[in-house]
Symmetry: D3
């Protein structure tokens, strides 16, 4: 286990989801070990690689989760996207484009979820400057 | 039918796939009508929207096709990605990241296809400057 | 943008989903542009093609949405199917058959949704003659 | 095991794929038991149910296999569709429509396979009257 | 229709889901015929085959439903797995492993469902000895 | 990066695929970094966890790859399954059972691949004792 990669991963998750929101589930959950592995691996050793910036990685993840129809996970990564500066307009463009690769149903479902998350984001205190 | 959108779509396809390579199939094919619709709609009316540039759209499509495991279509869009300036390093990063959303098998398969397309691209006369 | 195709599409949606139920979402939604495109393209330029009648197209869409497991969209198209005269018995046959191509789980889920929609349909005032 | 359902299933397969072409694999194959089960169950007890005719069932199966991207199986069922009287024009309409539910890539791939199977069908001696 | 296979199937379902819980839906449901077929075929003629024991079959089904993202069905088969003696630790291992084949989102979703079902199982009177 | 986990992963791959066959691709491939990560993470830190033995893990992976329709990856893991002692009969049972969760097409395709791999395995010098 690499402690450094784990800490790097938590830092990426903080940037994506906000401080105090790194963990999607309470401790002691059956998913703990997988999340620990994911923090270190996915966020700590893949998202930190220099070839792509975090905003681009966030957009790619939103695209993938849309066509796969993974709604819960998509919701969280839409929150992340807004947090790292992907604009509502850009989110709309990503989701519209996905209609032609994954089908209309997954794109329309994703646009419904995005509508809710954008509304929540715009109503939140930190929204104005967070993406800046 | 909108002639303008159709012409705009062909122009986008020219930028993505190269002049003379807009059509993946010979004329008279059963797919003609769908391709005609796709040229006008997907390339002419969605890819031309101002919210995202063509390079970003190309990267998103590569991500989506990877997790969906649509190999033939992915191969063509990897060619497109290289053509609009997505670097081999960026392609590698996109595909690695997709492993965690669509699974290792689709990412590994996409990396095999990308390896072939990058080799072909680097051996082609126009490669050096095409993405510049 | 083709106004004629858009109007043709709305007419198809009226036949499928009922007058006043053409739009699944309130105006001003993030999905507006995609729905506009879909109205014109999918309903206006594909569903209106002469090769297949609307009832057959409706049945095919129900089959596809079942094996893809797109439940929300399936529910709406089951309403559409009942509206254009697909009988409850035919719906049951379509969904049973799909079990062998998409797996038991998607077929069983679709049969649960269909059970609800058929009950609602049979309880609605217009049911008796609507499919006639 | 129901011998009657098995014989009924073989009869359905004969109508779909042609006499002598009921079995996609040589005897002694690892798949024998599953095919035996499928002959009895899918073809003998589902396809024979009275609620839908064989041509409609064939079209629904083609739609499902298209959006699922099951190419080998789709090829065989496209042969079956032509054999029970689904016209090339109807096949084209089914596949075009599927683009909006399963995405452009699966529809385009299916149209390529259909193009090949229609050509083979039109070149075969029995084509003219077989669907009649 | 084979009465013996049907009765064998109900016996398998009793072992998996508990006496009185063989049927996931009330009688008179649109799904009745498919469930009848499934009881006879899947549970009566496949799950009873000698090559694999019921616990192993249950684990394989959990793995498949996880990567397919069929949540409702997965929940029932997680109940079944606990009932035939798959331990919570083994369930956790199966689901973690699936992350690399079906992606993190399906594994994390499955772990959330498993957490709920394991809690319900541990709180139920028969839990202590049922898997023994 | 954890060297120990990486070495543990290679040891698992040696047991699964055979000495000298740990790597599915030549060095210098675009997939190198992902494979390195997978060796350490999937094989080194997940497959080595004590909750399930290697034979069971291999069977679960075969089940998952079957329903996902990941044919290339499935072929390699069928080789792995035979290598760690999953019998041809057990493979057949796994694949038949998957027909009801992922659909007949993926099960039949997997049985075709398995037939080839079992034949190759039975013709290989080490087959007789390798699973023992």
């Amino acid at each position: 286990m690499s402690e450094q990669a784990y800490r790097d991963g938590l830092e990426v998750k903080r940037r994506l989801f906000g401080a105090g929101k790194e963990h999607p589930l309470p401790p002691g959950h059956l998913a703990d070990d997988l999340l620990r592995l994911s923090d270190e691996l996915v966020y700590g050793r893949v998202y930190t690689r220099p070839g792509l910036d975090l905003k681009t990685r966030s957009m790619l993840t939103v695209a993938a989760l849309t066509v796969l129809g993974r709604d819960d996970y998509l919701r969280r990564h839409l929150q992340g996207a807004l947090h790292v500066g992907v604009t509502p307009e850009e989110i709309k463009e990503i989701l519209m484009q996905m209609a032609f690769y994954g089908g209309m149903p997954v794109a329309l479902k994703a646009l419904r979820i995005a509508q809710e998350e954008i509304a929540a984001w715009e109503a939140s205190p930190g929204a104005a400057g967070a993406g800046a």
